[in-house]
Subunit: 403 residues, 2 copies
């Protein structure tokens, strides 16, 4: 039973292997109102010039700039008021030398005019306008296509769509949005000691924390979790479930119970129906992690205790889910902060220390038994201490991976 032999590799190596077996999901089209938070699958291109015409950016008078060059308070330039341009109507207007047109903010510039004098720098006298300041060509005018040009790329594929992006997509006519499909993550819990959440565990039993944890983590990562149930101690049952899941899911997470015997069942099953690429990662907690494939579907065997599960999700699985979703880089989960106190570390393996972000924005390491959940509850994220590093000093700036 090869499942019991661990060959421990570095986290960075494990992540590299894990990412290499993850495909990027295909894409689908969704209505614009459903696109918030999704990942753009193709470049978004404007189908029109925005604005579609030269428009005024101020309330005032559309003029020929060169006629205002000498204008001052004492020696204003007098222009004939040729009329008023209404808002929002596409009528063609024009001016000739010696004329101006009243124009509201957003109004369409008349042909011939190339600038707008603001209302406050003018006086109206018996149908004529006195201009008291010069304007430069283009002043107070937004040119056709100045916001977005027709056929220009407004967003590149791979962008996570924010609220303001949705607004801009509306402006450029993107009624249906090509986005990456949300990957389906199959989640299996294993362990003879696992009971449902609504059951009060007997001594020696624990509640099914991991499938909920994995499920919420999948959602957070933009995926659709599918909880496939609890397998107690039957290797054949687990094999059958894995075989079935490989065609219905884009990635499978198998989280072990805390039983050593059972971890072997998980390993045995993955070895039995698939290919194991990694079995053992220099990560504490989280050492007995398995990374493999069943057919072409990536599978991760995550060791038992919820605290270890969360660490493996945060350190390894998140990279897989990110790639699966079609995201090239992390999306705002890292935050720089100064350490409040020293952190000592054993050389030779990567260590992840949970930290709380204080009111002052400092990262306060939370020490304590790594098997406890409560340091996760109190913490805001985790700081990585590289293998080969003896620790970090108070005041050092660290990158916190926020939960």
């Amino acid at each position: 039973m090869s499942g019991s032999f661990l060959k421990v590799i570095a986290v960075s190596e494990a992540v590299k292997i894990a990412e290499s077996i993850v495909p990027v999901v295909d894409s689908e089209n969704v209505d614009l109102e459903d696109a918030y938070g999704r990942i753009l699958a193709e470049d978004a291109v404007s189908d029109i010039d925005i604005p579609g015409f030269d428009k005024s950016w101020k309330d005032g008078y559309a003029v020929i700039a060169s006629e205002t060059v000498t204008a001052t308070d004492n020696m204003p330039v007098m222009l004939r008021l040729a009329g008023r341009i209404p808002m929002g109507i596409g009528e063609d207007r024009s001016i000739v030398k010696g004329e101006c047109l009243n124009i509201p903010t957003g109004g369409r510039m008349p042909a011939g005019a190339d600038a707008v004098v603001m209302l406050e720098y003018t006086d109206e006298v018996a149908g004529d306008i006195l201009v008291k300041r010069p304007v430069a060509p283009g002043e107070n005018v937004i040119c056709r296509g100045e916001d977005f040009k027709k056929d220009s790329v407004v967003y590149k594929a791979g962008k996570v769509l924010t609220a303001s992006d949705i607004g801009a997509l509306a402006a450029i006519g993107c009624a249906r949005v090509p986005v990456k499909r949300k990957p389906v993550i199959g989640i299996i819990s294993t362990g003879i000691e696992i009971v449902d959440v609504d059951t009060v565990p007997d001594i020696g039993q624990i509640r099914d924390v991991n499938s909920y944890l994995c499920s919420a983590f999948a959602k957070k990562s933009g995926c659709i979790p599918r909880r496939l149930g609890i397998v107690r101690d039957d290797c054949e049952e687990l094999k059958a479930l894995l075989n079935d899941a490989k065609d219905k899911c884009d990635l499978i997470l198998v989280s072990g119970g805390s039983s050593k015997d059972l971890k072997d069942v998980t390993a045995q099953a993955i070895y039995g129906v698939g290919e194991v690429l990694v079995h053992g990662v220099a990560l504490a907690p989280g050492k007995p992690t398995i990374i493999g494939k069943i057919g072409e579907t990536p599978v991760v065997g995550i060791p038992g205790h919820p605290a270890a599960t969360y660490m493996v999700l945060s350190v390894i699985v998140r990279h897989m889910l990110r790639k699966l979703c079609g995201l090239e880089k992390e999306n705002g989960t890292l935050r720089s902060a100064k350490l409040l106190t020293n952190i000592a570390s054993e050389k030779g393996r990567e260590e992840y220390v949970r930290v709380r972000i204080t009111e002052d924005g400092l990262a306060e390491p939370l020490f304590g038994k790594s098997g406890l959940l409560n340091t996760i509850v109190e913490s805001d994220g985790v700081v990585k201490i590289a293998a080969g590093c003896e620790g970090l000093e108070a005041g050092e700036v660290v990158e916190v991976f926020m939960w």
Copy 2:
């Protein structure tokens, strides 16, 4: 028509009034697997001690600590091996003086024992165990309730539930989770020049950007958007729609087109069927904002241009939505960064300057005409310049409100 007279007040005052008219929504119970990202409505209390028994934190031998005080490599303490404790079984075991029991990580501590000696500090010789290091009472033991005590509050009401929170709620038996109901936000667009997103606008028309923008912003804020349609220029139609919406929505957003005439229709309608508390805010862009109530339902009239809409959403409406959702404070949307370049500002009104976060984590101000959308597209957030401040200098640390 009172709608045309603006009495401009400071942003902070407008926010205070806006928050004061917002109720907090009621709560509902959801299944744990649907609780990710929701806001806890009641304190979450553990229904059990976790762990439920004293357990070993290491593979080794359960011992009476006081018997190991003199143990060294050269003079080990010899204890009789009284048996092995299996994993995950609730059997009662005990030891007496002179004895030890083999115990796995996670195994239940036998009565009488108060510490665990790690395997690597022992030798087994013909059924006896040689202990080569002393252990202190409690060493390598996780006590009953050390993680969470029965009846202790694990999360306080108001917490936004993260992935790790979902795991901890599973552990403490929270199968159904009391969360705040998601508020329903009614969204109305007004403007004679507004056309649907899938229509190519004629000159003088613009696409319905605002309802999509408001809708995505509502989602981002944890609300359920309900787009109620476009009202072109009919005050009575808008009044009827507002009257209908007030009973179906927790808050209503009416975004104007860019027509001045139409802004009056919006103002007229809100004045007509409700109560106006604010009409005019010292905010650029965003000055003609209206804040009021229709019956007990808060309503915000947002001025026309999408860039102004987004500013009013980000600066005023977000506080209303946060309170409506039941959140006491902002949830991770602020980020500290050093300014890359100076920002000048007019004294006397609050100004919001869009910034981009550079690769080095600096905040780079994006200047340009505030009416353009493209500075929103390029920006990551906005920096507030207080009224009365003449500007900010390069190198100053500013708070960026991230989009």
